[in-house]
Symmetry: C2
Subunit: 310 residues, 2 copies
């Protein structure tokens, strides 16, 4: 079942304790698309400048990602972000953000995209996320990501946007900021009242927690973070989590049955999200997806089972 992905396609400058790259393919939509492409057919909506390299488009195309919705602005430059990670890689400092053509991004969905049953909205302005949702018809499942900036300065717009979502994926500090609660359970309870029936709180290297309310009771599922031998570059890991999560659900055709989602499928989706996030960190930028094979994904999924079952 096809999945529409909206977000940034960018060039990144990344420095980690393991090395440095001046200009490599990045952006939320890029990472989400690559990760989900292992599970389902993907259609991307984004904007780039005419500096967007043929080899980068070719990488996406080689994963059968539909680029009909990738707008190219003549004479414009692709969004550029640069950042440097701390020694333990738990913090990063943004060195540069050149929005370039992304500043005027106004996503228009190709006709062929509009009836896709799955939609995931990467971290962009909430009003744009909302306008994309309005262009779709016959959605089975919709959700997305956001960030501290929109939570703080675009709160009303954001609340109106996520009210229409089935799931929200955010990290723990954003969950606290959005809810005004310090405790994760309390934060989740408040956020589930804002619209989304499913909430995934990402905790970086410590994994993720899935929250649902069923019959008035808060239920949750906890996935550990995969213990990597070496974290080369965490850029994009959260987006790859989103890609694995929604990609798995789309590939399985999971949708709201009787107004609800199957909890067992959601748990598996969280593990596939964790698996894809872990692969992302193993090499610089998107490099791991140049070689990653589906069998490796299944092997790592089994590893998650082996190291959590008791």
């Amino acid at each position: 079942m096809s999945l529409v992905i909206v977000g940034s396609v960018a060039y990144d400058g990344v420095e980690t304790p393991h090395g440095k790259a001046e200009r490599i393919l990045g952006g939320a939509a890029t990472y989400i698309s690559l990760a989900s492409s292992y599970f389902t057919s993907v259609k991307v909506v984004a904007v780039v400048g005419d500096d967007f390299a043929a080899e980068d488009a070719a990488l996406l195309a080689s994963h059968n990602i539909d680029l009909a919705g990738l707008e190219r602005v003549a004479g414009g430059k692709t969004f550029y972000w640069a950042g440097v990670y701390s020694a333990d890689m738990n913090d990063r400092t943004t060195l540069r953000t050149d929005l370039n053509v992304f500043a005027d991004f106004d996503p228009k969905l190709p006709e062929a995209y509009r009836s896709s049953p799955y939609l995931v909205l990467g971290n962009i302005q909430p009003a744009l996320q909302r306008s994309v949702r309005a262009q779709m018809n016959g959605l089975k499942l919709v959700g997305g990501d956001t960030m501290n900036y929109w939570i703080k300065d675009y709160r009303d717009e954001l609340l109106a946007t996520i009210r229409e979502w089935d799931f929200l994926l955010i990290n723990d500090s954003e969950a606290c900021q959005l809810s005004g609660e310090r405790n994760l359970r309390a934060a989740a309870a408040k956020i589930l009242d804002m619209g989304p029936r499913t909430l995934v709180i990402k905790r970086g290297e410590y994994g993720a927690v899935l929250f649902r309310r069923e019959g008035g009771k808060l239920r949750h599922f906890m996935a550990p973070g995969y213990l990597l031998e070496n974290v080369f570059d965490p850029t994009g890991a959260g987006d790859c989590f989103a890609g694995g999560f929604i990609g798995y659900l789309a590939g399985r055709g999971v949708g709201m049955a009787a107004g609800d989602l199957d909890f067992a499928e959601l748990r598996r989706a969280v593990i596939y999200g964790s698996v894809m996030g872990s692969f992302c960190c193993e090499q610089f930028g998107v490099d791991r997806f140049r070689s990653l094979r589906r069998e490796e994904i299944e092997t790592r999924y089994q590893e998650f089972q082996t190291c959590t079952v008791f």
Copy 2:
């Protein structure tokens, strides 16, 4: 099967965002004993002053904890520690440490303790931990805890001590300090070469990871941290983890068979450790153990299963 526990019995002054207590029962041996007493018969070895209150001894005795090894120093005062927690409770600042009678603690085991099959050594000077181990005969399983101070300033003594242990329980920053490695897998591999065949790395609210080497391969098991609705006071949670872990193993009579431990039992022990650590945080000091019943422990164990299985 009886379990000997060595460590501090103390009075604590504790301040958390939820309240303040000037002088409450504390100490590693206290917490380990209370937590493990739900699983097996416990014998404590510690020292207190003549200010040690009858009601505190009575609490321990009410959990069938053998106090024959609790030395009382006439004219002496019990170890006193005071600290204050940060708003998010992930940090604490020590305000006062009065070693008092603990400064001259030289544990002598009562004759009736020496043939106990299980021994856990709370965080005290490594040479003392070693001398206690030497007083035991017929041990099935021995292990313990340590801390940054001993790792930094008593390294050789510590290495000689843990070389004789079956298991070591430490937190993540201590594991990195002991091994000189930043990565948890790499740290675990190095520590498993130092003697203990089983290593548990505690990660506070994020749970714990059990490491073993089997046939030259590193295996691990990850337990999530229980999502508490309210963390009242984390003091003693790590010690309660140790108590649940070793208490479960002792209660089941688990020991080195063919030079090794059963991995499935160790996984369950880690979950029981997590369960006991989570209860500890629910009230101030040891208060939760005044009311905690065995059935509640089993219920929470089941909750861990429900929220991790996929």
